[in-house]
Symmetry: C2
Subunit: 222 residues, 2 copies
């Protein structure tokens, strides 16, 4: 069953989820600006780059203390480092990828993962025809060896890119292997113990939202 992530994730965060999502947008913008040798930036410029309002930007940052100086703006490098630290992506975050089908392969090759210090450190599948094959510099490992393998890797995050029917078993196996955060691509809810957080990536939800907008814009004659 498709499920909104916030209700499933325990415990509830103090910071709103949309704020955390926008932080990644600011971070991306700051990385780009830093690469273009821009050293300071105003909230108005952030708005120009990200299409997120200057007021929203300041409100989002306010959850995490004082940032920037009135009349001067924000130091690009400092703000980038602080946001990365807030999101805990200032250090390398190892991830187990479960499922070596089309989606798994697409994720393994997805640009931007390494840019944000996410690194897929192992790739698992249950298909004997896939196990042992090498893709994107990684061997496809037998699903049943996840616990053993993760003793060395110590990954706390896993991406589930498996069919719906296999999602709960994959989640259980990952959790038993020490994983405490799951990104689930299967359109199904997962039962997880307290302290384990789940986020869903649902194309269906996004398509339904687009479908609604299409009708709304039609009604308004646009």
């Amino acid at each position: 069953m498709v499920q909104t992530p916030t209700e499933e994730s325990a415990p509830l965060p103090k910071v709103p989820i949309p704020t955390l999502e926008r932080l990644t947008t600011y971070l991306r913008c700051l990385v780009d600006l830093g690469a273009s040798d821009v050293h300071t930036i105003s909230s108005a410029q952030i708005e120009q780059y990200t299409s997120i309002s200057a007021a929203q930007f300041r409100k989002d940052l306010s959850y995490f203390g004082e940032f920037g100086k009135p009349g001067v703006g924000y130091q690009v490098a400092e703000l980038e480092a602080r946001i990365a630290r807030i999101l805990q992506i200032h250090k390398l975050q190892p991830i187990l990828l479960i499922g070596a089908g089309n989606l798994g392969m697409a994720l393994a090759a997805y640009p931007g993962l390494t840019e944000h210090k996410f690194r897929i450190v192992a790739l698992f599948d249950s298909d004997p025809n896939k196990i042992g094959k090498r893709v994107h510099g990684m061997d496809i490992i037998d699903f049943n060896r996840m616990g053993e393998i993760n003793i060395a890797l110590q990954a706390q995050m896993a991406i589930l890119a498996v069919p719906t029917s296999a999602a709960q078993a994959a989640a259980d196996c990952a959790i038993q292997s020490g994983v405490r955060a799951l990104l689930n691509f299967a359109p199904t809810a997962l039962k997880v113990p307290p302290g384990v957080v789940v986020r869903h990536v649902s194309f269906l939800q996004e398509l339904a939202v687009l479908s609604y907008h299409l009708t709304e814009t039609e009604k308004r004659g646009q």
Copy 2:
């Protein structure tokens, strides 16, 4: 640049995006219940099935008028039909899929699309080695023929499963071909004219949110 969808989509919806997203969860639940011969359901049962609170469920429905009867609950089939109508997924919604790489292939095979009456009606790519090949019952069509092909198909939605460097060109081409709603998988912002809506599927945002939660639960000693 990764960008939150709400800021980019114009015009702003009257109904909150999270409400629309949760509607798809309720819908999925109702479809499952209907298949199990359940005919009426209470908001408390919806909470049990979806992990979304009964109060939130009633609030979400309140945007769209009167639903259910006090003390009786909701007719499963009627509620299902009404939500599908709200999301405009009670009728078939044709979709153009742009990009026949791993991600495009995963999307073409994604379960649940047809269940929600989304149908991928054409698959495009720019790679001469892919054009003309047949996958999932569809021929991969030359990207440059999109306008011509969509005269017959009349699709208003497109999914962009292309590399970042190709995303804007793919969006432009889709819009010129009559598309007014885009689901973008590339981690980049798109410039679109008024009346065209864009939603982004960003794995990076989800991973960053998980990363934050991991740290929070560590702090609380869970």
